[in-house]
Amino acid sequence: MTATTHDDAHHHEAGYGGLRRWLFTTNHKDIGTLYLLWSLAMFLVGGAMALVIRAELFQPGLQVVDPYFFNQMTTNHALVMIFGAVMPAFTGLANWMIPLMVGAPDMALPRMNNWSFWLLPFAFAILLATLFMPGGGAAGGWTMYPPLMLQTGDAFPFIIFAIHIMGISSIMGSINVIATILNMRAPGMTLMKMPLFVWTWLITAYLMIAVMPVLAGAITMLLTDQYFGTTFFSAAGGGDPVLYQHIFWFFGHPEVYILILPAFGIVSTIIPTFARKPLFGYSSMVYATASIAFLSFIVWAHHMFTVGMPLAGELFFMYATMLIAVPTGVKVFNWVATMWRGAMTFETPMLFAVAFVILFTIGGFSGLMLAIAPADFQYHDTYFVVAHFHYVLVTGAIFAIMAAAYYWLPKWTGHMYDERLGQWHFWLSTITVNVLFFPQHFLGLAGMPRRIPDYSVQFADWNLVSSLGGFAFGLSQLIFVWLVIKCARGGQRAEARAWEGAEGLEWEVPSPAPHHTFDTPPAVR
């Protein structure tokens, strides 16, 4: 990715070099690169925490960490992965690709774009620093339910503020994406001609602007309950701990679609390329995305089936949740129909995209099972849920991000990545990730709760398998890191249209994409 720097340094008018270039940059490609590298770093950090979890769960008994530290790992693993790895990865892709895809010279609000990124390292510095504070970091789960969350030690306000800053960053990033898409399209790039990645991001950005402030509100109330005597979440004062859960999940459920809609966009871009056939049902894809976004606002309490809601509430949230299977199904079927009678090849991006379709769908199926309220009385807060969301998040979001990275690396670096390494990465990842997460379904159904550092012995065998899978999956990711470094430093030169079947404006500019593109808008066919 750094290979582009010297090519362009001479016509980089601002004249900032070295570190200052990256600190002060307003260029969407630079910022995109920063986001992507940041995301990779956070993936490793969050993954390292996951490995602490898996190491402790390797066998029954406590061998590695204290239970409280374990809880900190679980909590921070999730926060780092969600806010540090997946969301920034998507924002990085948006930064790099959306202006290229819609034929814009840059993002709409370039200075703010810089700020969106440069808030993140500070926010995460604060978050990770809390792990070293007296009383330890956040340990109440990423959902931070009160009253438990209020038992956090000195770190409490810092956790809240760190999340506030992440939220500000996401909101600004999303505002930028929306302004870019609505205002910066090249003439002729009508809404219904936009690549699906752009469409899914438009809707994602909307979701983010709608729900990040709600999260901010929820944790602000936690803060005031803790320090200023408010009683939002305390029954004695007329509040309710469950109120927090409602507000949190009003954010939290759309959040999980924030983590998957851009992935849908990526897969919808890659499959047609390698099937050499246009995407099937473009407009129904758009409508399905919009429907998912809409439904995502009215299903939140499916995370709360066991809190003791009134029957009518449980029924409503069960039905609404089940409905999401319909638009999501439309997407899956459209992908299969796109592959149908294409002329497929299976380079690494396509492999990841295909694996996404299968494994995400499996995750979706378990989601549908969770949506059945009475059955969720058994599933809730077990490893069955953990298995569900890692299928949609790891083999969903992360796999799509991997696919995107392979797909556009040639555009970013000007070099083809090492296909052999890519294939190794794919096969190792796909096999080990299933060893890692599939047994967790069994564990959950057999009665193993989540968020526990130790378990009774009947769960030992599948945990052992899962942990082995975890270490293997983690190690496999090092191949990817190596591959990216290698690709940035050299390799076979990539053509402008790096993939035979690729469509879209991004492939009309040279590889690597020059520092400035579309200063004059391109012609859109």
Partner: protein, 286 residues
């Protein structure tokens, strides 16, 4: 709509964002230390606030210079508009969380605690009967008076509504290029905003001094102060922005056909106004 006319102005590198990040970090770390009782907290907090002020002045200074320098095309202008619209939408959702808490407390948790859920009220709260406004079943000994709509909140409503009118008049004046009317009505708007804040502060004083109504007066106090408090903060910010924009009007920064800076603030002001109406109805009247 979707055309890039000519070249879009992309600013060169800027150090303001990173300054802002340093400022905000120092601010929140200072705040955190303060909440944890460290003596360092307030200093760090103040430092952060100062850095943020410098950042905002510097950043907006750049934007104003570029705007006045004619670097912004209509398309850039539209980006700003979209930016402002979606920013305001995010603010709406932020208030939504607190309104949601209010509705939940009033329609669900308080009734449950006071008999609608017989087991809860019987076994935990001795069948206490609660009526809104309440400080909750654990605070039944707490005597307080709620803040009614009369007189201050109603006066404040009129003030804000009037300010919505004055700013609109000012806007028309700007479009008609009548400087005197513009500046006069802008100052009037600023004055109304200031008056609102003053009265709101007085209302808080009354609440604390005479009504025994505090932030920790159970769920009523919590929702009351958080909603009106965040709103008050927004009025304060809005008033400062109005003052800045008025000074800019006086300097002749705005042209009748191009004055997004003005409009952005006006939108924000209207948003603050609308939130107040929600507050007036749901917090004070109902």
């Amino acid at each position: 709509m979707a055309q890039a006319q000519g070249s879009y102005y992309v600013p060169h590198g800027s150090y303001w964002p990173i300054v802002g990040s340093v400022g905000i970090t120092s601010l929140v770390v200072g705040m955190g230390l303060y909440l944890e009782g460290s003596t360092w907290g307030p200093y760090l907090l103040a430092l952060g606030a100062a850095v943020l002020v410098v950042m905002i002045v510097g950043w907006f200074g750049d934007v104003i210079r570029e705007g006045v320098g004619g670097l912004y095309s209509d398309q850039v202008d539209r980006s700003f508009r979209w930016g402002m619209v979606w920013f305001i939408f995010s603010e709406v959702m932020f208030f939504g969380a607190f309104f949601g808490a209010l509705f939940y407390a009033r329609t669900l948790s308080v009734p449950w605690l006071s008999g609608a859920d017989p087991e809860t009220s019987r076994y935990i709260w001795d069948s206490v009967v609660l009526n809104w406004p309440t400080a909750g079943p654990g605070n039944t000994a707490m005597e307080f008076e709620p803040m009614g709509p009369w007189p201050l909140p109603t006066i404040n409503t009129l003030i804000l509504l009037t300010s919505g009118v004055t700013i609109t008049i000012a806007h028309h004046a700007l479009k008609a290029n009548e400087r005197l009317r513009l500046i006069g009505f802008m100052w009037a708007t600023v004055a109304l905003g200031t008056l609102f804040i003053g009265l709101q502060a007085y209302e808080y004083y009354e609440a604390y001094a005479h009504l025994n109504l505090r932030l920790d007066t159970g769920i009523y106090g919590s929702t009351f102060f958080m909603l009106t408090g965040f709103h008050g903060m927004h009025v304060l910010i809005g008033t400062i922005m109005l003052a800045v924009i008025t000074l800019r009007c006086m300097r002749g920064h705005f042209r009748p056909e191009a004055h997004f800076g003005f409009e952005g603030v006006a939108w924000y002001w209207h948003f603050v106004d609308v939130v107040w109406l929600g507050l007036y109805i749901f917090v004070y009247i109902l």
